[in-house]
Amino acid sequence: MLKKLIARNNITIHGVGKKPMLMVHGYGCDQNMWRFITPEFKDDYQIILIDLVGSGKSDENAYDYDKYSSLEGYADDIVEICDALDLKDVCFVGHSVSAMIGALAVLKKPSVFKKLIMIAPSPRYINDNHYLGGFSQKDIDELMETLDSNYLGWSSAMAPIIMGNADRPELTEELEHSFCQSNPAIAKHFAKVTFLGDNRSDLEKLTTETLILQSKSDVIASIEVGRYVHNHIANSTLVILDATGHCPHLTAPNQTIEAMKKYLL
């Protein structure tokens, strides 16, 4: 079972500490995105990194379009992984969509998790009456266009790898050296699930201690959205980082680390 999960989610374990810290990447990338953060926690934590099914080096064959048609499917995987690794008092760190996946996993099995760290979370990206998610349906359609444009050349060149072409190892190697590659069909499906979802009602159910890390300027998850999340999670702390963009752990890793450490002390 564990072996199966390790292959499915490309689970890797780092660090010499005992306290488990499960870090999950957001849309568009894989576990590589934590490379600036993990060195600072290696001494005190057992760091578990995973690739969501369909991303990075996960088992693409495990991508079930029904299961992953909502974030619940991913949250089930998180709980499954925690159970299989027999993790307790987990500190869950999730970026972007995985902040919400983490919230759902915590709701499914609160006893496993001790703390939840959400980096640039958004419970809903599309505007809705008085709620300002920041996007309209048209914007998401444009994203699909952009994905199509950028995967046009990719699909034919990368197809042999996706098909598991073992007799051309040079292509596989190329893939290993590139970051954040994924099958275009899955990338589009995941984008739709991520950007068209609505998990606002789940926030209020959370009781686990939660840290929200928010860039001062982020087109994907604005400060207003960060405040909304903070206001709807009872036991939450909001820290606004002096960083721009949706990936403070990449563009402002030191500030991100500092805020995390301060919270975890």
């Binding site: 590589n32 309209s136 048209k138 444009e142 444009s149 046009l152 970051f179 954040c180 087109v219 990449l250």
Partner: protein, 406 residues
Amino acid sequence: MSIKYQTTMNYTIDYKELLNTSPCGYFCSLPDGTIIDSNKRFLEFTSYEREEVIEIKKFTDFLSMGGKIYFETVYVQILNLSGAVEEINFDFIRKDGTKLPVLMNSVIVKDTEGRHLFTQSTVFNISQRKKYEQELLIAKRKADALSDELKHSNKELHRSSELILQQKLQLEEFNHHLENKNRQLSNFAYITSHNLRAPVGNLKSLQDFYNESTDMEDRAMLFSKFEKVIGHLTETLNELIETVKIQEDINIVHDSILFDTVFDKTVEILEGQILDSKAVVTSNFSEATKIKYPKLYMESIMLNLLSNSLRYRSPDRVPKIHFSTKITNNEITLLATDNGLGIDLKRHGNKIFGLSNTFHSHPDSKGVGLFMTKTQIEAVGGSITVQSEVDKGTTFKIVLKKSSSY
């Protein structure tokens, strides 16, 4: 400030000019995205003035919302993780609102301590290529849709073929049912003709007696026999009508019958022939008195066997016909024995139960009687065998069914 460089071939190159006139857009941005310098080509692409862009706009300001999401979720992550990102397709939104498709490459420039100082990017106009790509994209989507459609059709076909297979099985079952029905119908047709023919023949015989007789007492006796036979005839007709109704619904109805009752009725039906032939007809059903059996079949079997024995009696002796039952191995057996002409079994063998086989040159022989009797017996799960010796007599042995089921 302009940096000039003298080449070995005596050309003077102005780097600033070189950069400004280069066929690709170039810009330099801070880690937060603010553009701090660019060449003229880049400004031409955006159609903004230098003062409107430098230190004011970020690269993402030229993108649609969808483009911004892609920038943040893909471009930023790859750039920061690997220090460079290549061949990303964005649509620039120009000052007049029109879109310019570009391909962008970026690299991170770091200081000696590894801090991200700024990002250098080159931008290529791909308007023409984009048109082809759009066509390709449309073609690809069509192909994908077609492939989906094919998969769907394939699934439908598979479903249809399963349905057809099911219908075929149903048809086969139905056909089998029809065959059964057909067999029953030919049985029925036989019973109808035979069961009616015998009493009608009987009536004819009685009529002959009646006409020949001058004795009033005989005539009165014969007349009462007329009434009886006519009564049986009516009853048989009614039963036949009933049977037609029943056979439409179910295959074979098993009635609870007494051998004596059916035998007596048979004797009465054939009264004329018995009188005519002066035959001694006896029975003993004490070993098995009753059975659950299709009444019409039993009547038909007895009628057929008795009329056979009467028909094929020997002219040289008083005909003796005896019906009896036996139970052997839990099976009820009906035996019909006569001292008639007998059948040459060596010659005719098992053909005696075949259709249109007659073994006598008797004028009444129709050659269907034994065939239908056999068919009826087998329809209920029984069997019929014959023992015979020429000019000695014949015994038909009919295994009707297991006694446990009566």
